[in-house]
């Protein structure tokens, strides 16, 4: 089994309510959206500052719909499972690597990222030639060591794919609803009905200075 590792300085993430109708349109037929409330599903927004990888250093933003995981005897139960429907990176090399290795759908341009940390908060800005794509603000709770598994689902033509991902880093999470998401009209967000996406997260997460490990892609 080949393991692929990515070293990161920060992984900032938050979960927002979105319309289940949008989630169903985004997901392939074999996946279903998790509903956090009746007719409300979950948009996960993650931003990474990668400091070590096969393709060097880069920043990345991932928009995903959260789905139920796939329970497999003999494998760790994941903390969560998701289907990334739009990824963007700051370098072409990172983009080509993720498309080829993980079949992740990408916005095909290099984007600019800002990570501003102050007073226990991280504000992430994502820009396309200077125009804003999204702004994500997450605040921290206490950090505890974590080594958590996740399931990531992808598609490649008619193939249904899954990869196990492990996050090993000090981890903070809370549900104080102090964060914020601002989404702008942009090709990255066109699958979403923006006014149906909650502007505040019901959960905020932050991994600091750790390793993200991918196992091999498998067909399901």
């Amino acid at each position: 089994m080949r393991l692929t590792k990515y070293e990161f300085k920060h992984c900032i993430g938050a979960m927002f309510e979105m319309s289940t109708a949008d989630a169903r349109k985004i997901l392939p037929d074999h996946l279903h959206p998790l509903e956090v409330q009746h007719t409300r599903s979950v948009l996960a927004v993650l931003a990474f500052q990668f400091t070590g990888s096969e393709v060097g250093t880069y920043d990345e933003v991932v928009l995903s719909v959260v789905t139920p995981p796939r329970v497999v005897p003999g494998e760790p139960l994941p903390q969560a499972a998701f289907y990334p429907f739009m990824v963007a990176t700051s370098t072409e090399a990172a983009r080509e690597h993720a498309i080829e290795r993980w079949s992740l759908p990408h916005y095909m341009k290099d984007l600019e990222f800002s990570f501003d940390e102050s007073d226990g908060q991280m504000k992430v800005g994502v820009f396309d030639e200077g125009a804003p794509v999204l702004e994500l603000t997450v605040s921290q709770h206490s950090f505890v060591p974590a080594d958590f598994p996740y399931h990531c689902f992808m598609t490649r033509d008619d193939e249904r794919l899954k990869v196990n991902i492990f996050m090993n880093a000090p981890h903070s999470q809370h549900e104080e609803e102090t964060g914020e998401l601002v989404l702008y009209d942009h090709p990255m967000t066109e699958a979403l009905t923006l006014q149906e996406v909650s502007s505040y997260p019901f959960r905020e997460e932050w991994y600091q200075a750790g390793i993200q490990t991918f196992e091999e892609v498998e067909n399901i």
């Binding site: 089994m1 080949r2 393991l3 692929t4 590792k5 990515y6 070293e7 300085k9 074999h30 996946l31 279903h32 998790l34 409330q37 009746h38 007719t39 409300r40 400091t51 070590g52 990888s53 096969e54 789905t67 139920p68 995981p69 796939r70 329970v71 005897p73 003999g74 494998e75 760790p76 139960l77 903390q79 499972a81 709770h141 206490s142 505890v144 060591p145 974590a146 080594d147 958590f148 090993n168 880093a169 000090p170 999470q173 809370h174 549900e175 104080e176 609803e177 505040y200 019901f202 959960r203 200075a209 750790g210 390793i211 196992e215």
Partner: protein
């Protein structure tokens, strides 16, 4: 040095590595998981999650989850005998801050005597749906008594408070309608919304501006659902502001007074009376399992509303009617509520004492305005250990953590009763503060 301790200027981790795929345990740290992790999974067998859940449960139960469903071996009085299922010991005479017996009525001699008389006359159960053969004269009397007490034309009795919400919302609203509830609404409200097939929305807790945003632009039938007292935070609904929005947007309003009927307001009618808005609220709902110490729920409102629900509240007519001995006990308990307003005075004196005592000791009790007092811990990793210490110290109180409340919004949910003596409160407060100090929650 673990990978998570690495500094960024150390030698980089190898970007790829080859290893053998071996069978791995489902959990490295079972306590990092909770019930929400077993809610659903993709796959083909509905039983897929049984094995991992049972594996998880076997590991986490002795680590803290055993504190749920502790059997009590006595009445839910101010002192209670509780079985510590971790050690097998019956812990006797614990100060009880867990039961919802807000007026101490469940074990009053008059209530017990009324139940015994009804057992002799009617036996154990009603043996039928209320729409067919299960309506007893006692049940009709209870409905009349509740309506009179609430100052409404009519009332309908349900077997539980849960079924009252499910039956009311599911019976009244339809596909294409809109129901907007406070984000902290009880599960029974949520389930009623789902069963009704109406569009469901939730507004940020107690935020009238957010409610307005959720109602705006919808032309069809609208129902807003709020609670008199919210059961995890113990705060009140800002009813005047909420009502103003409902009127402006043409929405009906339901107030679930499960934790406030028989307690709030000059006559104990509830939070709606407390705000002087009794007649402005369209539908009043409450339960009998808390302040009246029994079982069941009710809806009170206009006769026309009750007549309509009679035909469409499935949770009522597809259930057996409330058992006659229970109904007899409730009738007597309600008589006592009316005859003894000093019970409420005693409750509020006890609440004032305990809130002040805890606040003065530096305990975070949030925005509590009621007999429900959240003792905030805000650390999901430590609450069970603290709960175990409280149990052994002599206090029966329930830890509440995710998913019942948000992550790291964990707390102990304290219920104050009119029946608590000053000694109960002082001794209990001392024990709680001592344990919290020992754990660095207060200094």
């Amino acid at each position: 040095m673990s990978e998570s301790d690495r500094r960024l200027d150390d030698a980089p981790v190898e970007a790829t590595e080859t290893t053998k795929k071996a069978k791995q345990p489902a959990f490295k740290d079972a306590m990092a998981y909770d019930y929400s992790n077993f809610y659903s999974a993709s796959g083909t067998d509905p039983f897929d999650l049984f094995e991992p859940l049972n594996e998880w449960w076997d590991e986490v139960r002795p680590k803290g989850y055993y504190q749920y469903e502790l059997p009590i071996h006595s009445a839910p009085s101010t002192r209670v005998d509780v079985e510590d299922t971790k050690t097998g010991e019956i812990r006797k005479g614990l100060i009880n801050f867990a039961s919802y017996n807000y007026l101490g009525l469940s074990y009053r001699p008059e209530v017990k005597e009324a139940i015994k008389v009804a057992v002799d006359e009617y036996g154990a159960g009603s043996s039928g749906s209320p729409i067919l053969s299960g309506t007893t004269a006692l049940l009709q009397q209870l409905a009349r008594d509740v309506a009179r007490f609430k100052g409404k034309e009519a009332a309908m009795i349900f077997p539980t408070g849960y079924s009252a919400n499910v039956g009311l919302i599911g019976g009244l609203m339809r596909a294409g309608d809109l129901v907007v509830a406070d984000q902290f609404a009880h599960a029974s409200v949520v389930d009623g919304m789902i069963l009704s097939k109406a569009q469901s929305r939730f507004f940020r807790h107690n935020r009238a501006d957010e409610l307005d945003r959720k109602l705006k632009g919808f032309d069809g039938k609208k129902l807003v659902v709020v609670e008199g007292v919210y059961s995890m935070d113990g705060d009140l609904v800002p009813l005047p502001e909420i009502l103003e929005v409902c009127k402006a947007r043409g929405a009906r309003i339901l107030i679930d007074e499960a934790h406030s009927t028989f307690l709030f307001g000059e006559n104990g009618r509830g939070v709606a009376e407390h705000f002087g808005l009794d007649d402005e609220v369209d539908i009043h709902l409450g339960t009998f399992s808390k302040s009246l110490g029994g079982q069941g729920g009710f809806v009170a409102g206009s006769q026309k509303l009750i007549n309509y629900l009679r035909g469409f509240s499935r949770s009522r007519f597809f259930s057996c009617a409330l058992a006659p001995p229970v109904v007899a006990g409730l009738i007597k308990a309600l008589e006592l509520v009316v005859a003894e307003p000093e019970l409420r005075d005693k409750l509020w004196a006890n609440v004032d004492f305990m809130q002040n005592r805890l606040r003065d000791a530096g305990v975070d009790i949030g925005d509590c305005e009621s007999q429900v007092v959240p003792i905030m811990i805000r650390n999901d990793a430590t609450i069970f250990d603290i709960g175990e210490q409280l149990l052994r110290e002599g206090v029966f109180i329930n830890p509440v953590k995710y998913p019942a409340v948000g992550k790291h919004k964990s707390r102990f949910r304290m219920s104050i009763s009119a029946a608590h003596t000053q000694e109960d409160l002082e001794e209990g407060a001392d024990m709680i503060v001592r344990v919290l100090e020992r754990n660095g929650i207060v200094s």
